[in-house]
Symmetry: C2
Subunit: 320 residues, 2 copies
């Protein structure tokens, strides 16, 4: 039996059209989906996509969304029935096994935190993203939830990221590296120096500092950093891939699409927020329908893989 995923129909630059299109695609692939948004509008968009008769695609009414330029906390206070809040409450009440949103990341994080609460021992939730490397893939954590961090936060990210790597990359005993600008323990900023000791004290296969060259060479399965650095690293990677693809297109190089497709960051469809007592996956704001469908599939897979309870178990054994 497939888990049911609550999808924020108003989240994303091209919402709700592209979200409904992606959700219809996911439902056709066998996922159980609840689209959360203004019922009438969603219903007619589903019909337009030819998905009207799908029994595994339902609607939960939520009249309004959170715009990208709104302050997330103020918006959520003002809008008790915002789609991301309603979606998180569906998961909290057990009607859904997880939530997917390609909307305002800050609003999604606040809504999930409010609905699910934090895992005992975790001070800050973190976004975990799969970043392609020459070795296949790595888990980058935190990819953007916390702009300012302290060393214990990074140690907690390492612990949670290792569980995620075990489930998603199927890596037993994953190698955990600390992103820095040099490999020796003394290299890096003050946060990295403190975090090195904190990570070394965790029951992890800690491989020490890792620089970008070794990261993309595939020398770590989990790469730990603060959310500011992690988000910059992720976005620089995306931007450089986009720039190279544009240069190659201008040079009229006939590229085999498979040569670059697994470098496409949107392919995974989203990043789970680790550390809260519930499943939220956030997608890229610029997601197209395929990316939305991939994001829903990822959320479904993580619900089936019981990622939340596995992270909570691991955290519970180590932290208190």
């Amino acid at each position: 039996l497939q888990p049911t995923i609550a999808v924020d129909a108003l989240g994303g630059d091209d919402a709700p059209g592209v979200v409904v299109s992606g959700a219809v695609q996911a439902a056709r692939d066998g996922r159980n989906v609840i689209l959360v948004g203004p019922s009438e509008a969603i219903r007619s968009l589903i019909a337009k996509e030819g998905g009207a008769g799908l029994p595994n695609l339902t609607i939960e009414d939520a009249p309004e969304g959170v715009a990208m330029d709104e302050s997330p906390l103020a918006a959520l206070r003002k809008k008790p029935r915002a789609s991301i809040r309603v979606a998180c409450e569906l998961a909290q009440s057990g009607r859904a096994a997880g939530v997917y949103s390609a909307g305002h990341t800050g609003a999604a994080l606040f809504a999930a935190h409010a609905a699910f609460g934090m895992m005992a021992g975790v001070e800050r939730p973190a976004l975990a993203v799969i970043v392609p490397t020459r070795g296949g893939g790595s888990v980058l954590v935190d990819a953007g939830a916390n702009a300012d961090c302290r060393a214990p936060h990074l140690a907690q990210f390492g612990l949670m990221g290792a569980v995620y790597a075990t489930i998603l990359l199927k890596t037993e005993n994953p190698r955990v590296g600390l992103l820095s600008i040099g490999e020796e323990a003394g290299k890096g900023n003050e946060l990295v120096k403190d975090a090195h000791a904190a990570l070394a004290a965790m029951p992890l296969r800690f491989v020490g500092n890792i620089d970008a060259a070794r990261w993309f060479h595939g020398d770590a399965d989990v790469v730990v950093t603060d959310g500011f650095t992690g988000n910059i690293a992720l976005k620089v990677g995306e931007a450089v891939v986009a720039m190279m693809a544009a240069r190659l297109a201008e040079a009229k190089v006939g590229l085999p699409s498979e040569a670059l497709s697994n470098l496409h960051y949107a392919k995974e469809g989203g990043a789970p927020l680790l550390g809260v007592n519930g499943l939220l996956v956030v997608g890229h704001g610029r997601s197209n329908a395929d990316a939305i469908a991939n994001g829903i599939a990822l959320t479904s897979k993580l619900a089936e893989g019981r990622v939340v309870s596995k992270v909570a178990e691991a955290v519970g054994r180590v932290l208190k």
Copy 2:
């Protein structure tokens, strides 16, 4: 008349062989070069490269180098005649117009700081690197000299970077952006929030926060950040370019080399240290002979362009 460049013959992963080879190449291109290292060994390497008769290639004896795993301060104290120290003293005494080293960056920074001193008003020197974008190029500052920074440092980096962009990119009134994870003034970590105000108070064409997508789209000529984030961004970019090049090679895609050549970070050959009262350009440790020759050419060009006095003038007008 070409300026004379003191080259650290013992700096670089493949030093001194590759450095001498690059220096001979630079001398053949008309640069005036002093190779600083153990005389006898350097002399025979020059002969091996067929450069024995070049009148514009001389040697200054310096018996020892600084190894990559040495603590830079301790090494420099212990080795008063280390090649990077002797090279910086040649520039300080006026026998050379600038120094180039592909060796231990930390040691080069300390040696330059000790020999040249800081410009009045500048608290921290910063490395400025040209990063290719869809718009052509941008100056990234600080690319790695200061792992931990405060807001006034970033404002000073913006001022110095703008002068460098004017000289090297030939951009009048360059657009200065602050690297962050969102474009609104409130987005970013605490340092970015403080630095936003500090940069806005400078006599600069400050375009506010810039994310990686806009940076690589070409929306800023100068991108300001702390040296930890800057170095991570630079190295992630390099690593992703290398990874894509490897994938394309595996897929046997016949790439027109010009399509990627201007994405090659090594092409510029090095990064000047802005903020000290003298010219030091540091190159990549993995530089080959071509990169070394490019680095010497860049140092020569920056000496001719009077980058140090122009930065000092700009800084003197604004800071005190």
